[in-house]
């Protein structure tokens, strides 16, 4: 059983990384990769959840929070990230906002042929915008989340975490 758990990315692990890095607000729109994380976040009094109805909105919300001295994280799916291109450009890249965006990597598969174009274009999109990204598939990758936070602060730019695993509930 322990081996099965270590192959997953547990929501407790992600939440611990957020708190370790001083996240104050989670600007988010639900997706299948973050559903279980939501259950944890909404019960955490130290986190303020800001729900958006279109992902592009998340980048201007994050910019306002950051200018106001807070430390938001953006939690969205790759489909919504791609819809958000101009908002990402103008409100975060254009304003030097140090924000981590955790992006559900819909369609990602380590093995075999990728059949979901959401995955096909995800890394190409990030490369087009010159945004550094780190793949996180299971708990053993979780340190990369801290790396992303540190890099965002140092470069004053958005940095992406690609969440390559759907959450599997609590353990």
């Amino acid at each position: 059983m322990a081996q099965v758990e270590s192959a997953n990315l547990n929501p407790e692990t992600v939440l611990a990384e957020m708190k370790k890095n001083g996240v104050t607000h989670v600007v988010w729109l639900p997706d299948s990769e973050t559903n279980w994380l939501y259950m944890l976040m909404k019960n955490d009094p130290e986190l303020d959840l800001i729900p958006v109805s279109r992902e592009g909105q998340a980048f201007s919300v994050a910019a306002g929070l950051s200018v106001g001295g807070k430390n938001p994280v953006i939690l969205i799916q790759n489909t919504g990230m791609m819809e958000s291109g101009d908002s990402l450009r103008g409100w975060c890249l254009g304003m030097n906002i140090p924000v981590v965006m955790m992006v559900g990597y819909r369609g990602y598969t380590r093995h075999g042929v990728n059949s979901d174009t959401a995955a096909t274009y995800t890394e190409r999109f990030l490369n087009a915008f010159g945004i550094q990204y780190y793949l996180v598939e299971n708990d053993s990758d979780a340190e990369r989340i801290s790396v992303a936070f540190e890099e965002a602060q140092q470069t004053k730019r958005p940095v992406a975490i690609l969440v390559g695993d759907e959450y599997h509930g609590f353990h």
Binding site: H25, D48, I50, P51, V52, S53, R54, G56, Q57, F59, S60, V61, A62, A63, G64, L65, S66, V67, G68, G69, K70, P72, D86, S87, R89, G90, W91, G94, M95, N96, P98
Partner: protein, 195 residues
């Protein structure tokens, strides 16, 4: 309808120590404001995002009154922002909207259904508890003090005359006097924020 500059001249009397995001009113506000370092003239980072930016700033600085002069074109691009603002309900956020019924900076083409949209009703339906709509300056003038003295979030739709631009973008007068980086640095200093 009324002139944006006339409205801003009246607003200035009641501004207090509010942070002002002048949005599409920026070119007028820069000659009216008496507290430039608390102004956030961002130009147009990406259309449709000003309301969300203003809400984020208000949530981050709950003791700081934040006033936004949005536009109907921006609001239409991201109507969903209204429901997020209504849910988070920052009491220090004052959401004014300039409705000139067109895209003035691209030549004055009408926004969809330009003359028939009740933006205050949309905001009310999204969950704003206080909304207003003004199409004459006297009514605005009679209400602005009360609007700013009560808690937000409040939505104020205003019919204003368009200032249509047809010059090539490169030939237009640049009204900003500070870079975006300087604007952010100035307002953060005023708010006591160090990043």
């Amino acid at each position: 309808m009324f002139q944006t500059a006339d409205m801003l001249n009246i607003f200035q009397k009641y501004r207090g120590d509010a942070v002002v995001i002048p949005g599409r009113g920026g070119r007028h506000w820069i000659d009216i404001s008496t507290n430039e370092k608390k102004d956030i003239p961002l130009g147009d980072p990406a259309m449709g995002g000003h309301a969300s930016f203003g809400m984020g700033l208000a949530l981050a600085q709950p003791d700081q009154k934040v006033v936004l002069f949005d536009s109907e074109g921006d609001v239409l691009m991201n109507l969903g922002a209204l429901v997020t603002i209504a849910e988070k309900a920052p009491e220090n956020f004052y959401h004014f909207m300039l409705d000139n019924e067109c895209y003035a900076t691209t030549g004055g083409q009408p926004v969809p259904n330009a003359q028939n949209v009740a933006y205050d009703v949309i905001a009310k339906g999204a969950g704003y508890t206080r909304t207003y709509a003004f199409d004459n300056l006297e009514d605005f003038s009679n209400n602005i003090e009360e609007i700013l003295s009560q808690p937000g979030p409040v939505f104020v739709a205003m019919k204003v005359f368009p200032h249509i631009e047809n010059e090539p973008i490169g030939a237009r007068r640049r009204w900003q006097t500070r870079t975006r980086d300087q604007v952010i640095e100035d307002v953060q200093q005023q708010m006591g924020v160090s990043n």
